[in-house]
Structures are given as structure tokens and as C-alpha cells.
């Protein structure tokens, strides 16, 4: 049994050396090439001083080098940190400094974004391509530098399954992203369950639609490599054009697709999807947000032979529950359950009196088992709040993860997602803390008060609207504030609409009345 992620690759490289492991933008890597290149990268990282547990950042658009970088970092004993190549410099800089990234694997183009950033922890930079006409910066290396390192073996590494493998940053309610630490064991718990459940085989052609900083990609990459199958990384710009994306799925003969529902909704609405075109497709997994029933029914009708699964779980547990869509029941269902616990995982719901909830009752979903994160990077307080001691058994010490999601179980033992305990929302599957958007708005010197609210939307889950009261009436414009947000938060978090007002409504305790703002907005929309 593999106990660290890189063993999945080494094992597959032994059995499937000449098969394609990964495809991106017209380039492929065989298992042998991926194994050798990642060995070389691991040796390179060691020579640059990377020790076990050091952080290595991955900051470049998806490419076959992404997979080399992930495995190379792991083989060196490092913890990799995928950074969204489209995020503003300010947020990337925060993350680099927050977890002390020592080695940065990037492209010249992305490196320019960080030109004016102070990142003292970064000791060296490796470009995913060659150096351009003599503009050599100190401690910057070209990809070709890897060629001089041993390819046939990885460096010595004494590792255990509880070592950290990667850190995924998600939106934080206090205005700063937080780093969810995931161990090899966390990832493997999910990967092993998927392998058994979905029977990924060498002949499978698995899509990778999610960005690498989004945990949906963990299934794509590691389950593909474990199976000796081939990973097909969706070019970013194709995701914008449903007709082109549908053509790509057909042409690449994708057999397994995993994405957020909104990507599938777009395919249903504009992709001319049908079973004839997607003859090879056998399995669709979706996660990250609620799939609107109307479109799920259409998808099921358009693709009658494809198995559909709803997967659920926060980054802190990866996927922890699943539901296999029952086509016979679908026409009469008004909502889709998130289902029941995956293997090697236990979930239960707890009400406000700390009691386990029964059928039809509502409580917060708790998760236990080896999939649960050890916590947040550099934030023991937040970790203690979310990863709590298991007070429901006293035989030994263990942690439970509180999801903050309100759920209700039905008589079959399937859970239904009802909403959040806090102000976290989902838009296009991205997890967004409204507090982070408010903090971005408040960082503008002209802003006195700011509140962000979610406007439910059938296609993308939620749109974001903000209400802002300026210090000086008439001094600010919505566009100016959107521009300001663009320097602090990712694009998907910039409010689509900003309403400027004199002052914001307050509750009796003097807090901004977000409920009233959201209601005012929905009444205006009616």
C-alpha cells in the first residue's frame, strides 16, 4: 500500500512506462518521462537547499510541468503550494510570505507580476522554460538546468504518511486567505476510496478542469497517476467557450469528467451535448456547489449512459460524502442529497445543544477520520476553532472537523445540504468569505462602511453585490472600487455590482444588517 503520494507515480512508471501520463496544450509526458523529470527536479531542489517540510510554490498556468513540479517537490520532501496564476500580486505575495515559500517554480511572465513585491523567504526561482536573451537574475534557473541531475532515482527521503504534502489557500473571513494543510494521508484516504469506487483504469482519459489550487484537482491528478491512466488538462480559455469545450471533450475522448456544476450547466445550455458526441464518457463527478435540479435533469437526459455522482466536502476534508444520482428517482426529486460518508470517513450532524440530530432534524456537519486536515498554516487559533476534540468519545484523543455547513439526514441516511452557519458563500464552486471582500473594500481610504451580500443565481450559484458608504459622499465610483478590489482579491471575488449609499442599515446591536441588505436587494430584483 502506498503511504506517500509519490509512490503512486513510481508504481505506475514501473508498469506503464511508455503510456501517456499527462497532456496539456498539445504536449504529453509519458510515465517514464514524468518519473525521470520529477526525480531530477527533486535533486535540483535538494541542491538548492530544500529540506523536508520546506515550501515550494507553483506559480504558472497549467502545463505538463505542473505535474512534474508537484511530484518533484514531494520527492524532495517539500510541501508544494499551488498559487492561482490569475491572482493579484498582493494576494500571492501574502501567501508566499505567510507560509514562507523558499523555492518558487514559475514563468517569466508570472514572475513579472511579482516584480514590485517583497518576498524575502524566496531563495531561488526555477522557470518552467528557458532563460530569455541573457536577462539572468540571481538565483534564477532555467528548466534545462534539471537535465544535469540524476533521473533514475529520487533523493533519499525518510517520510511518513502524516507528513504534509501540500497547502491549499482558501478565502478567509478576516480578510486574508488561509492555508489549509493537507498530509499525504489526507490525500491518499480520498484517492484510495475513489480508486475503488470509480474503478479508474489505465485506459481512462481523465479531465482536469479545476485549477490546481482548487482541491477538485487532487482527484484528477492522483487518481489518474495511481491508475496509470492519462490526465487531460483543460486549457483555461476553453473553459469560457462551451462549444469549444464540448469539442475538446469529444476529440480527446474523455472518459471521466470532474468539475464544478456551473461548468456542466454551461455545457448543457450551450455545448450541444449528447451521448453520440461523448461516446467515451462513462463517469461525471461534480462538487463545490449545489447543482440546480433543472439542469441536472437535462444533463442526465442528454447523457443517458453516463454515471453521475455528487461529491461534497470542504478543502479541509477533501471529499467526505458522496451521492450516486439515481436516474429513476431524479424526475421526482426536488433537491439532490450530498449523500453519505466516503470510505474511511465518518460524518454526523450536531445540533446547538450538542446532540446528534435524527432524521429530518438540522445540525452542523462534523467529519472524522484520516481525511481531516491537521489545520491551518501558522494559525493555531483558527485550527483550534475548526478542528475540535472529539467530545463524543473519550477513549483516545482525536480531532473532528466542524464544516460550518448545516445539514439534515433523511430516513435512508443521506444528508442534505441546507446552508451555512456563517457568511461563507459559493460562486462557480469557489469558496468565498464575504468578510474577505468587505476587508478589501474597507482597505480603500475613501470607504467608511462596506457589506458584501450574495445574490442567488441559477447558473453560477451566487453573484456578489456590495453596499458601500463613502466617507465623503460623491467621492467614489463603483468602477474605482472594483479596480481597487482587483488588486487585493481574485477575479471571482470582485463584486459584480456595487451600490453606493449614505449609510448602511444596522441591527439593534449596531452591526451592519446584512439580512436587510440582502432582502432589500431581492425585493428590488422582484
Amino acid at each position: 500500500m502506498p503511504y506517500i503520494l509519490q509512490q503512486l507515480l513510481t508504481e505506475s512508471a514501473r508498469g506503464h512506462a511508455e503510456r501517456s501520463a499527462a497532456w496539456a496544450r498539445g504536449r504529453t509526458l509519458s510515465y517514464r518521462e514524468l518519473e525521470e523529470r520529477s526525480n531530477q527536479l527533486a535533486h535540483f531542489l535538494r541542491e538548492r537547499g530544500i529540506k523536508k517540510g520546506d515550501r515550494v510554490g507553483l506559480f504558472f498556468p497549467k502545463a505538463v510541468e505542473s505535474v512534474v513540479a508537484m511530484f518533484g517537490a514531494l520527492k524532495a520532501g517539500a510541501v508544494y503550494v499551488p498559487l492561482d496564476p490569475n491572482q493579484p500580486a498582493e494576494r500571492i505575495t501574502y501567501i508566499i510570505n505567510n507560509c514562507g515559500i523558499k523555492g518558487l517554480i514559475t514563468s517569466a511572465d508570472r514572475l513579472r507580476v511579482l516584480e514590485h513585491s517583497s518576498t524575502p523567504s524566496v531563495e531561488f526561482t526555477l522557470l518552467t522554460h528557458e532563460l530569455s536573451n541573457g536577462s539572468v537574475r540571481p538565483n534564477t534557473f532555467a528548466w534545462s538546468a534539471l537535465a544535469s541531475f540524476p533521473a533514475d532515482h529520487a533523493p533519499e527521503l525518510q517520510a511518513t504518511t502524516t507528513d504534509l504534502a501540500y497547502i491549499l489557500y482558501t478565502s478567509g473571513s478576516t480578510g486574508r486567505p488561509k492555508g489549509v494543510m493537507l498530509s499525504h494521508q489526507n490525500a491518499l484516504t480520498f484517492v484510495e476510496w475513489c480508486a475503488e469506487m470509480f474503478e479508474i483504469a489505465p485506459a481512462d482519459r481523465v479531465s482536469n478542469h479545476a485549477p490546481l489550487h482548487f482541491d477538485l484537482s487532487v482527484f484528477d491528478v492522483y487518481n489518474t497517476i495511481k491508475a496509470g491512466a492519462t490526465l487531460y488538462m483543460v486549457p483555461d480559455e476553453l473553459a469560457v467557450f462551451p462549444a469549444s469545450l464540448a469539442h475538446w471533450i469529444e476529440e480527446k475522448q474523455i472518459t471521466v469528467w470532474y468539475s464544478v456544476p456551473s461548468a456542466l450547466v454551461h455545457l448543457v445550455l450551450h455545448g450541444n451535448v449528447n451521448g453520440d458526441r461523448f461516446r467515451n464518457l462513462r463517469l461525471i463527478l461534480f462538487a463545490g456547489e449545489v447543482f440546480p435540479q433543472k439542469y441536472l435533469k437535462q444533463l442526465a437526459e442528454l447523457l443517458p449512459d453516463v454515471e453521475l455522482y455528487n461529491l461534497y466536502g470542504p478543502t479541509e476534508t477533501n471529499v467526505c460524502t458522496y451521492y450516486r444520482v439515481d436516474r429513476a428517482l431524479l424526475p421526482v426529486m426536488d433537491r439532490l442529497p450530498i449523500g453519505r460518508a466516503c470510505g474511511n470517513t465518518e460524518v454526523f450532524a450536531v445540533d446547538e445543544h450538542d446532540g446528534m440530530v435524527g432524521v429530518g432534524e438540522v445540525g452542523e456537519l462534523y467529519v472524522r477520520g484520516p481525511a481531516v486536515t491537521p489545520g491551518y498554516w501558522g494559525d493555531p487559533e483558527k485550527t483550534a476553532r475548526m478542528c475540535v476534540p472529539n467530545r463524543f468519545q473519550s477513549n483516545f484523543e482525536e480531532k473532528l472537523y466542524r464544516t460550518g455547513d448545516l445539514v439534515s439526514p433523511d430516513q435512508n441516511g443521506d444528508y442534505y445540504f441546507l446552508g451555512r452557519r456563517d457568511s461563507q458563500i459559493k460562486s462557480r464552486g469557489y469558496r468565498i468569505e464575504l468578510g474577505e471582500i468587505e476587508a478589501a473594500l474597507l482597505s480603500h481610504t475613501g470607504v467608511c462602511e462596506a457589506a458584501a451580500v450574495a445574490i442567488p443565481d441559477e447558473e453560477i450559484g451566487n453573484r456578489i453585490k456590495a453596499f458601500v458608504s463613502p466617507h465623503d459622499p460623491g467621492s467614489l465610483t463603483a468602477v474605482e472600487l472594483q479596480r481597487h478590489c482587483a488588486t487585493r482579491v481574485p477575479r471571482y471575488m470582485i463584486p459584480e455590482l456595487i451600490e453606493l449609499c449614505g449609510s448602511l442599515p444596522k441591527t439593534s446591536t449596531g452591526k451592519i444588517d446584512r439580512v436587510r441588505l440582502a432582502q432589500a436587494n431581492s425585493q428590488a430584483a422582484d
Partner: protein
């Protein structure tokens, strides 16, 4: 029907409004609208509706492809072709 000059100006105006909400202040005719995030999976359909309503062309799902919408220049070329009765169909 818009003249060539009007058409590009109208497309540019609409793209600029979208760009500003994403924090982008300058857009050249040959700049990739998808790489810069100005046109995303939602924005593309706003753009299509805008063209249908303001330029009076009908745009089929199989025409909403990268080749027709990568840059402002591409959109103009595509719309001009449509107005002359010849659209570029999906072929990648």
C-alpha cells in the same frame, strides 16, 4: 446597420465597461480577452447578448468559440462576416 468605425467603437465600449469591473483599465485591439479575465464564462454570454441586441446579428452556440472572441479585433472580424452573411463555425 453600424458602420465599421461605429461597430468597433461599440464593441470596445462594452468590453471596456466589463474590463473595468475586473480592474483592467487598458485594452488593446489584439489583447487576449480571456487571458486577462475580461471575458469569462459569464461575460461571454453578456457579450453575445449585447451583440445580438445592438448589432442585430444572431449568434449560434457553435459560433461562440475562441477564434471568434479572443480579441476585440476578432470580434469585429466575426461580426462583420456575420453581417455579410458568412459566419465562422466551430472547428478547432
Amino acid at each position: 446597420m453600424s458602420t465599421g468605425l461605429d461597430l468597433k467603437a461599440e464593441i470596445r465600449k462594452f468590453v471596456m465597461e466589463n474590463a473595468q469591473t475586473k480592474g483592467v483599465t487598458e485594452v488593446s485591439d489584439d489583447m487576449s480577452l480571456t487571458d486577462s479575465g475580461i471575458v469569462d464564462s459569464l461575460g461571454i454570454f453578456r457579450l453575445v447578448s449585447f451583440l445580438e441586441e445592438n448589432v442585430g446579428v444572431h449568434i449560434g452556440d457553435d459560433e461562440i468559440i475562441l477564434d471568434n472572441f479572443r480579441t476585440i479585433a476578432d470580434i469585429e472580424r466575426f461580426v462583420n462576416k456575420k453581417m455579410n452573411g458568412k459566419g465562422e463555425k466551430a472547428s478547432i
